[in-house]
Every structure is written in structure tokens, then in C-alpha cells.
């Protein structure tokens, strides 16, 4: 979390260059924008010259030929319209480039993150990953929308103004030139001095908010321990720290930002007037030129201030860019050179051991074979390692020792597509989204109606679907509210069966299933045995009573193996687990009945 608040003192030019490189994909738009910018600036900057001409050549001598004046006025109006129009078009061009770049970066980051290996997600809170893809890219957007265009436009404008000034009177232009380096120097100084103060204020604010957040969550304890006064005092202290930090900022702003720029502007104005007055004492001067210069001077300060104020956005964009590039550079999950594909669906855990943290084994020496078409189940208390077995089979992680094999090939060497299609998983609380039944089964992949119906029939839900008003095109509401839980489960079974897997993993996450769903799953599993290899991870022992073989896990090790009858005959863990579940049901029934 601290990372979010740390900002380096110097600008990271490498990251900046890399971000800017994204503009290379839009040469036409940038060229158009550039040309429009030059036109717009030219038009804007020429207007005061027309006024100067009007004043010096017509008003002062008192000479008013209508055709000349009409031309002048017309030109003035045209230039204004031109500047406004080209200005607008230029903005649109630059904006389009900016938003396209952001979209590209977003797509890249998203695609990269979703393809990272699973342990990448284990150690990173969801919130911070989401932040990278959304908030950080938003900060990068500001670079292209607020910082870059403003800098380019303003620099071109300032150059344009000085060129116009030089055209009118190069000596007067030199007087104004004093302004430019001075103000740039002041801005650089301001940036250097204000950045640490700015960050200090922000970090104190962070502290305040963290403290507030924690206090809200732990208020109960604070009150129970009668510590309100102490916490109040601490908070007040931090709050006043914040006040002091912000006042330091304001003093810096007051000394070096707008007031200073204005001071310089007024002094330059004074300089202009002095020079003007002095030249007039020694010769003839053109009033119109003076008028134009004053006009230009008023236009030169605002761009400078604007650029300075954008500098913090620039910094934030670079920091965000750095974070995003780190994600992109770290790359995606690499999979070994795939050699094989899945064909029969024989599963073999060959002395498999696995640990998440490298210290404690979550699975120890799991050795078990499931022949094609058989129905095996794995049971065990929470923390026995059941779900880890499934993760290994799906190649989310690699075993530390031993091999997880399908059809005599370690899963590491099975081609990705073949693995995803060949191993199907049915989860307990499936996601039904708002779409047709067909869409919920196909999940965006292409399957023929025949394939879809075959899967639905295998899942025992085809008949039900045909009773729906629009059959396979019937619209499902979000979370499948118009189906019963059992039907939802069967729908997701169809979803898995449609890609004709050779292995079916049933992941029963909790023991909370109603009897309807339980019966429905049992029936479907029985219908599938012999055709597909079934590997059920069960919480409820009653679901898997018919399995060919049941593996009992305890703390990562296999402690019992056998079918239901033989396991019940032994006075062992399986039998106790079974009894425990019976009694638990009794208790639940008791509570319900007493209502």
C-alpha cells in the first residue's frame, strides 16, 4: 500500500519515452493535428498585427477608406473563425489519439493479467490488480489528454507570440524576452521546492485516512478499553500536522506560483512602457505596435501557469506507467512445450506432493490411478487437500514432487486447448449470466445445435428445456433466477459436457446442497459413468456413495481407499465422517422443526 504514495524525486524519462512511443501508431492523426495547431496558432497570433495596422495606418493618420477597412475587418473575422475552427478540430484529433492509446494499453494489460499463472493472484489482493488496470490507465490517460496537448499547444503559442513580436519590433521583443527565461526558471524552482511539500501533505492525509478507517473498524475496542480520549488526542495531532503541511504548500504557491508570474508580467509591462516612452523621447514610435505588444503580453502568462500546474499530473502518469509496464514486462504464464493431447481420460497421480509456501506440504505422496470411464471420489475434512488435487489436475500449479498424468503424459506437456477441452469442471455455485439457454451452454464458443442438444440430454436437462417457452432461446435472468437450484446445476453440467470432455471434475465446494440438487447430480453422474472418467471432490458423502472407489484424505495424505460398503465396514475415518454428517442433518432438522 505504501507503494501508492511514493513518488520519485526525478522524472523517469525512460517510462515517459516508452509512453510517448505509443503515439507512433497514429502518424496521420498527429500530422493533421500538428498542421491544425500551426494554423490555429498562426491565426490567433496574427490578429493583433491586424489591429496594429488599423491603429497605425488608419486611425492615427485619420484616414478611413471603406474598402481597405472592410478588407481588414473581414480578414480579422476570418482569422478568428479559422483559429476557433482549427483549434477545435485539432483538439478532436489529439483526443482521438489519446483515447485510442489508452484503450490499447488497457487491452494489453488486461490480456496480460488474465494470462498470468495462478500464483500471481495468490499474493496480490484483487483490489490492487483492478487498480492497475483501471486507475493507473486513467492516470496515463491524463498524460495524453491534459498534459501533452497543453504542453505542445502552449509552447507553440508562446513561440508564435514571440515570432509575431519580433516581426513587429525586434527590440521590443527583446525586452519581453526577459520574461521567458525568468519565468521558466521560477517554474523549475517552484517544481523542485513544492514537490516534497506536496507529497508530505499527501502522505499526512493518507495517515489521517488510514487512522480514521482503522478507528472506525476498531471503534468497539477503543470504547471497550475506554481509550477514546487518547485516540482523540492522537487524531487531533495528526490533523494539525496536516494543517501545517498544507499551509507550507500555500506559502510556496503564494510565493512562487501565480503571484510571482503576475509580478514578472507587470514588471515586463513596465519595461515595455519605459522603453516605449524613452524611444518616443528620442524619435517617432508606432502606437499600434505598443498596443499589440500589450495584447501579446497578456496572452503569454496563462500558458506558463497552465503548464506548471500540469506537472503533477505528468508525474502521476509516469508513476502509473511504470507500474503498468512492470506488469507487461513480467509476462504471462509460460507453459512447457506441449507435445500431446488428451484422448482416453486416464488419470494417474504418481507420488504427488505439493506445497503452496514451500515449507508445509499440503499434499503428501498421493498415489492413485483412475481408469477411463471410472467414477472415483475424494473426500476429506476442510484442509485435507481435496481442492488442491483439482488445481493440480487443471494445471493451475505444478507438483513439487511426482507427476500428475493424464493418458500417461504429465499435464505440463499436454497442449493447452486439448487440456481445457478434455477436462471439464462442474462447480457447485455456477455462474448463470443474463443470456439465452444456448448462450449459457456455449459460453461464446461455436457449437452446433446437435452438439448442444446431445450435451443437454447427457445432463438430463434437454427435456426440461424443451418445455420452456422459447426452448434453447429462452432468456435466463442473471444468476438463473427462473430455474431451481437443481436445474441450474444441470445447466452448468451441460455447459461442461458440450465440449465433450474425457474427464469430468465435480467440485462440491460446501456441504450445503438441498436434496433435490443432490439427487439430480447423483442421477447424472450415474448416467455418465463408463463414458467419461469422473473425479468427484465431495463434501457430502451421500452424493458419492455409488463411486467405484473413494479416496479418503486427511491432512494431505491418503488414509483410506475403497468403495462405500468396504469403507463403512471398517471402523475408520470414513465411517466416522459419514456418521457425523448424519448427525449434523439431525441437528439441522431439529432446529427447523422447533421454529
Amino acid at each position: 500500500m505504501n507503494q501508492e504514495n511514493e513518488v520519485p524525486k526525478k522524472l523517469n524519462f525512460q517510462v515517459l519515452m516508452r509512453l510517448l512511443a505509443y503515439t507512433r501508431a497514429y502518424p496521420k492523426l498527429l500530422l493533421q493535428g500538428g498542421v491544425l495547431l500551426l494554423l490555429s496558432t498562426f491565426a490567433e497570433v496574427s490578429a493583433p498585427i491586424l489591429v496594429k495596422t488599423f491603429l497605425d495606418d488608419y486611425v492615427m493618420p485619420g484616414y478611413f477608406p471603406t474598402s481597405d477597412l472592410a478588407l481588414l475587418a473581414g480578414l480579422y473575422i476570418v482569422l478568428h473563425l479559422l483559429s476557433a475552427l482549427t483549434g477545435y478540430m485539432k483538439s478532436m484529433r489529439f483526443n482521438r489519439v489519446a483515447f485510442s492509446i489508452v484503450r490499447t494499453i488497457r487491452a494489453q494489460v488486461f490480456a496480460t493479467v488474465t494470462r498470468k499463472s495462478l500464483d500471481y493472484f495468490d499474493h496480490r489482493p484483487t483490489g490492487s490488480l483492478v487498480s492497475r488496470i483501471t486507475n493507473d490507465t486513467e492516470a496515463i490517460k491524463e498524460l495524453f489528454v491534459q498534459v501533452l496537448p497543453v504542453f505542445i499547444q502552449n509552447i507553440v503559442l508562446i513561440i508564435g507570440i514571440f515570432i509575431a513580436m519580433a516581426y513587429l519590433d525586434w527590440r521590443l521583443m527583446l525586452v519581453c524576452l526577459f520574461f521567458l527565461p525568468t519565468v521558466t526558471g521560477v517554474m523549475v524552482l517552484y517544481q523542485r521546492l513544492s514537490t516534497p511539500r506536496f507529497h508530505r501533505a499527501r502522505s499526512v492525509l493518507s495517515r489521517i485516512n488510514a487512522s480514521l478507517n482503522e478507528s472506525i473498524q476498531g471503534m468497539k475496542i477503543i470504547q471497550l478499553m475506554n481509550q477514546q480520549k487518547r485516540f482523540n488526542q492522537d487524531f487531533t495531532g495528526t490533523s494539525m500536522d496536516h494543517y501545517a503541511a498544507r499551509m507550507a504548500n500555500v506559502r510556496m504557491d503564494g510565493m512562487l506560483l501565480r503571484p510571482m508570474v503576475d509580478l514578472l508580467k507587470i514588471l515586463t509591462l513596465g519595461g515595455l512602457l519605459m522603453y516605449f516612452g524613452w524611444s518616443s523621447l528620442n524619435g517617432v514610435v508606432e502606437i499600434g505596435v505598443m498596443y499589440a505588444f500589450i495584447n501579446y503580453l497578456t496572452r503569454v502568462t496563462e500558458p506558463v501557469v497552465e503548464m506548471t500546474q500540469r506537472l503533477s499530473l505528468l508525474q502521476q502518469a509516469i508513476v502509473a506507467g511504470d507500474r503498468v509496464f512492470t506488469i507487461l514486462d513480467d509476462g504471462v504464464e509460460t507453459i512447457e512445450k506441449p507435445r500431446a493431447s488428451l484422448s482416453h481420460g486416464e488419470i494417474f497421480f504418481d507420488h504427488v506432493s505439493f506445497s503452496y509456501d514451500g515449507k508445509k506440504d499440503v499434499l503428501s505422496n498421493i498415489h492413485h490411478r483412475i481408469r477411463p470411464g471410472q467414477f472415483h471420489a475424494v473426500v476429506g475434512h476442510t484442509g485435507s487437500g481435496k481442492s488442491t488435487l483439482m488445481s493440480l489436475l487443471l494445471r493451475f500449479y505444478a507438483p513439487r514432487r511426482g507427476n500428475v498424468m493424464i493418458d500417461n503424459t504429465p499435464v505440463q506437456y499436454i497442449e493447452a486447448n486439448s487440456l481445457r477441452k478434455g477436462v471439464g469442471i462442474v462447480q457447485q455455485d455456477p455462474f448463470i449470466f443474463a443470456g439465452s439457454v444456448r448462450e449459457n451452454i456455449c459460453l461464446g464458443d461455436d457449437y452446433s445445435q446437435a452438439q448442444i442438444e446431445a450435451a443437454a440430454k447427457q445432463a438430463n436437462i434437454h427435456d426440461f428445456i424443451t418445455t420452456l417457452p422459447e426452448g434453447y432461446d429462452t432468456w435466463m435472468s442473471e444468476r438463473g433466477a427462473n430455474l431451481s437450484t437443481g436445474q441450474r446445476q444441470l445447466l452448468t453440467l451441460a455447459r461442461t459436457l458440450v465440449h465433450e470432455p474425457k474427464v469430468l471434475i465435480l467440485d462440491e465446494a460446501t456441504a450445503n446442497i438441498d436434496s433435490e440438487t443432490e439427487a439430480v447430480i447423483q442421477k447424472a453422474l450415474n448416467a455418465l459413468r463408463g463414458k467419461i472418467t469422473i473425479f468427484a471432490i465431495a463434501h457430502r458423502l451421500s452424493t458419492i456413495q455409488d463411486a467405484d472407489e473413494i479416496v479418503v484424505l486427511h491432512q494431505g495424505q491418503i488414509v483410506q481407499k475403497g468403495d462405500h460398503r468396504s469403507l463403512m465396514a471398517d471402523e475408520g475415518l470414513y465411517r466416522h465422517m459419514y456418521e457425523l454428517q448424519q448427525r449434523s442433518d439431525d441437528f439441522d432438522a431439529l432446529e427447523v422443526s422447533a421454529t
Binding site: 492615427m60 483515447f99 483501471t134 480514521l212 471503534m219 475496542i221 475506554n226 500555500v250 487443471l394
Partner: protein
Amino acid sequence: MNVFFALGWYFKLQWRKYATAITLFVLVDLLEMSLPLITGLIIDSVVSRTLTTQSLVGYGVLIVGIAIAVYILRFLWRITLFSASFYLAELMRQRLYHHLTRMAPGFFQKYRTGDLMARATNDISAVEMAAGEGVLSAIDGLMTSIFVLTIMTFIIDWKLTLIALLPFPIMAWFFKTIGSRLHNSFRDAQERFSELNDRVQESIAGIRMIKSFGREKAEDVAFLEIADRAAEANMSVAKTDSLYDPAIFLTVGTSYFLCVSAGGYMVYTGDLTLGMLTSFTMYLGYLIWPMFAYGWLMNIAERGGAAWNRISQLLEVSSPVPDTGTVTGVTSPDISIAIDRFQYPDTDAVALYDIDLRVPAGQTLGVVGHTGSGKSTLLHLLMRHYDGPETQIAISGVKLQDYQLSALRDAMAIVPQDAFLFTATIAENIAMGCPDAEIADIRRAADIADIDADIMSFRDSYETLVGERGVTLSGGQKQRIAIARALLLDAPILILDDALSAVDVGTEQRILRHLRDARKGKTTVIVSHRLTAVEHADQILVLHQGHQSETGKHRALINADGWYKRLYEYQTLERAVESGK
């Protein structure tokens, strides 16, 4: 504009600062407004050839003087005004915090952390803006417009003023229309961004499903769709936003055009001098800022007003439990509980009824029951989080309501269900209730809670930082630290609210044994799901659906062959299964 009335109390409080700031604005404006006039005078004296070196130098000095004076005054008003508005922000933060410390837990159920944080951050900022920038735009904008218009009309030429000002209403109209369109497109863009966020959140949370179904490409497509919509919304905002510059440019340009044309003619006819025309043009420039300021002011006032309302609403919530008691100490820690019936406020369901028991001083009471049977409710009442008209709980013969709340809290040490640790060292966490405790006492409490050995095995032992930015402890370790924290208080009554759920039975029994030895003569209440925790209690209360269903000692309850016995056998079997037998 209501926000300015609402903040009246603060303006009054800080009247000196605000009066100074306003005076400074006015001075700055007056000085700045003189510059165009001076320019005009110089130009005119050049044209009429009345300029002398002396007068030129005089003007020079004057200008430099004004520049420096304006610089200093500007610095001063910034410090004055913003010190006032920043202080307001801190004041509100402190008030809010203070208020929160006085709210009972029920308040924090109603107002979620996220909501409270938003009010404490965004809303306070919005009010601060109103008190600072808001005042600035309102008054400075007003002053500037008045001065400029006065000078333009009365000192220069009213006819020219009228002509040059013709486009300004149009500019105002532009601002208004563009502004409201911008407001709408901005809101749309925010919503699209929200959608983007939600989508990414969903994808990342469901990464397993994406991987197991091989849906990476499909997710990319769906994401891009939303990213595209977001980009379009942004383009909309940009389109509207980009209208501002041209709009201003055109209207100001027209204004200048009219001003120069008409003014030029008037110079020719002798009605106006060239110097005055130059001044006039400079003044025209000064009128643009008030137009911006006005729009901005509306924005700030609106947001500030809404924010102020939200904060006030929060500050007006009163605690459901009045602190009107007078008794300051507990003499003997015996508890008597008599509950005819109790309902939570704003609900119909009866949470507890027909409960009647006494816990003599020095005894241990165990409270068990299924989920939802009312165990937590009973504790809430004991801790006086709620009052009930038909409930009567007394300690040492004195009703809870008659104690001062702080005295009540001193009398009871509670280990709540979720062991919350603050971002601080372990020692500081344990000493939360007694900040001045010695390390020896802290270690003694930790030892009773069976956590001292664990802590000593950490690299920094008691100085280890825990909490959000520190080391992550296991559930069991956190609970034991919470127990140590409560033990250090050495209060007459100790309440354990399912505080041993994350430790194994062996550790649990050890801790309970230590407690029995260490707390002779003091009363203990243990609420637990696990019956082993209450086996040795002097009295066990079995709650069922909110009422007292069985009471007695462990042996008696087993013999009674009721719910207690069945649960006990079930839990024994469960333990066997958990250990692999």
C-alpha cells in the same frame, strides 16, 4: 448558495481572517485596476508629446511599486484565506472523529465504513472548497467586475462599454449550456469507468473459472467492448470540453473587434484618446475571469451544500444508549439478568425472552446455543449496547443504566468475536487498555493467554508490527492476543465472546485452566460454540431460539439427555474425524 449561510457560524468565528482577506482582495484589485489607466496615461502623453524623462521615471517607479505591493498583498491574502478554510477542514475532521468515538456499535452497522470514509474525505473537501475558493470566487469576482465596469463606464466611455459588452451575454449563455452538457457527459464517463472497474473486478475474482474453461479470449473481447464504450464516453466529454476555448475565443474576439472598431472611430472623432482605448482593451481582458469565477462558484456552492448536509446529518445522530448514570464503581462482580422480552430497535422479531439467572461473584457462566439462539444479543445487553424496557440487568445489585458508561466499561473486559488488532506493535496492542503497563505485566497476561511463547519466537518479539501494514498472524494467534489484551485490564468481569474458536481444544483447555487460576474471586462469562469451553463452568445456560432452555452444570446437562448432550456427542465425534480417526 445555502452553503454560505450554513457556514455562517464559521465565518463569524473567523471574522478577523475573512475581513482581512476581503480587505486584501479589494486592495489588490484597486491596485491592479490602476495599471491599465497608467498605461493609458503614458500612451496619451507620448501621443501628445507631453512626456518628460521625469514623468517617465515617475511612472516607472509607480509601476514597480504597484507590482511589488500587489505581490505582497496577494501572498498575504492567500495565507489568510486558506488558513481559514484549511482550519475548517481540520476542525470538521476532528469533530467527526470525536462524534464517532461516542457512537455505540449499532451506529457502525448502519453506517458502513466506506460511506463514513467518503464523508470524512470528499465531503469535508467540498465544504472546505466552499469556505475558501468559494468565498474567493464570489467576492473577488464581484469586486473585479464592479471596479472594471465602473471605470469603463464612468472614466472612459459608457457608449464604448455598451458596445464592447454586447457579446458577453452570449458568452454567459455559452458557459451555461456547455457547462450543463459537460456535467452530463462527465457523469456518463464516470459511469462507464465504474462499469469498467466492475468488469475487471469480476474477471479477476473469477480467474479460476476463466482459466479452467480457457476463456481468456472471450474475456478479452468482453473487456474491449466496455473499454470502447468508456473511450466513447470520454470522447463525448472531450468534444464538449473542447468547445469552451473556441467559444470564449470567439466572443472575446468579437468584443475586441467591436471595441477596436468603435474605439478607433471615436479616437478619430476626438471623443476618445488612444491611451484610453488601450486602457479599455486591457480592462476588457479583466472581465473574463469573473465569468469563469461565476460558473465555478455555482459548482463549488452546489457541491459544498450537498456535502455539508451529509456531514451535518451524521453529526446529528445520537447514541441509542444515554449516559446518565452516576455510579462510578462496581463493588462485587455478581450479575443478575432478568429479561422478559427484548427486540432490537426497528424490528418485530423477539430476540430474547424469559431469561432469568444469577451469576454470583467469582463464578463462571457458560452460554451455549445454536446459531441465532440469542447468545450475541445477550452479550449486547450485558455490555449495554442497547437498552430494553423489559430487560433488567444488574451488577452488584445496581442496574446497568445507573452506572456511568465509563465505569461500566472499566468493570468489564471483553474479548469480542473478531479479534481486531490495530496497526501497532504486539505490546501496544496488548496494552491497548492500559497504555502505561509494564512489559512484565504484559508478558504475564500473554502467558495466561498462552501466546507468550509464540510472541517470543518472532524476530522482534513484542515489538513486532501487526495490523494492516504489519505481519499477518493466524486467527488463533490474533484471538490469543485479544485475550491477553482483555486480561491485562484485570477487570472484575471477563467476557469471552466465542473467543477460543480459532484455537485447538488443547490450547483452549490450557488457557481456561490459566484463567481459572488467575481469576479467583472474579466473574467470567464464556460464550462458545464448542462445548468443551464451558465444561468446567459453574453454571451453563443453554439458549434455544431466544429463551432459556436448559441450565445447570455440565454433568447434569449430560444426564438430562437433551440438546446439550446430543451436541456434546456430535462435537466429540467431530473432533475424532478432524484428527483423522
